[in-house]
């Protein structure tokens, strides 16, 4: 089971590098934002996999907090781009 967790982590890291291309070279701010959102959702899974791999259940709490911060950051940036201020 640990082998499957380790292989999943490595494949997800390679996938994050694929998304990082879109985050760097993507035309316009929207492509970069959606790439960053995708990287955030993959990071949650990587945190859970590391927690299961090393037997530390505190990583589940960290991933919950990371999911909330990712969602709030995306909504705040979308609101700023739409209205010109976060209000």
């Amino acid at each position: 089971m640990n082998d499957i967790f380790l292989a999943s982590t490595i494949i997800l890291v390679i996938t994050i590098f694929l998304c990082l291309y879109r985050a760097i070279y993507g035309p316009g701010v929207e492509n970069r934002l959606i790439a960053v959102n995708t990287i955030g959702t993959k990071t949650i899974i990587i945190l859970l996999l590391i927690g299961l791999l090393y037997g530390r259940p505190i990583f589940v709490d960290i991933s919950i907090v990371y999911a909330m911060i990712n969602f709030i950051a995306t909504i705040a940036i979308a609101k700023y781009l739409r209205r010109g201020c976060v209000c």
Binding site: T15, I16, R22, I75, A78
Partner: protein
């Protein structure tokens, strides 16, 4: 038996996340990229969380994982919808057949 089911769920989730990343890299337009990213990431993450719950069993950790799955199923399509709304109101043109890739 439950471990085999967990492995199958984790592999299905991994497949969907890889497909979403390839779609984000190769589709020609912002809206098609949002389509690939939003749907594939939500389903892949949900399947991987179901696999982790089956692997853990009935503990407090699996309850937290279930809460995380419910939160992600609500929040991830909402975030992508907000981004697509911003792009549409800023005037990003959709891709038509014959145009060059953006």
């Amino acid at each position: 038996m439950l471990t085999i089911l967990a492995i199958i769920c984790i592999l299905i989730g991994l497949f969907f996340m890889v497909v979403g990343a390839v779609g984000l890299l190769r589709f020609p337009d912002f809206y098609t990229r949002a389509h690939a990213s939003g749907k594939c990431d939500t389903l892949g993450e949900g399947m991987m969380l179901v696999g982790f719950i089956l692997y853990e069993g009935m503990t407090l950790i699996s309850v937290k994982l279930l809460l995380l799955a419910i939160f992600i199923f609500i929040s991830s399509p909402t975030a992508v919808h907000a981004l697509v709304h911003v792009a549409y109101s800023r005037g990003v043109a959709p891709w038509k057949k014959g145009d060059e890739r953006q």
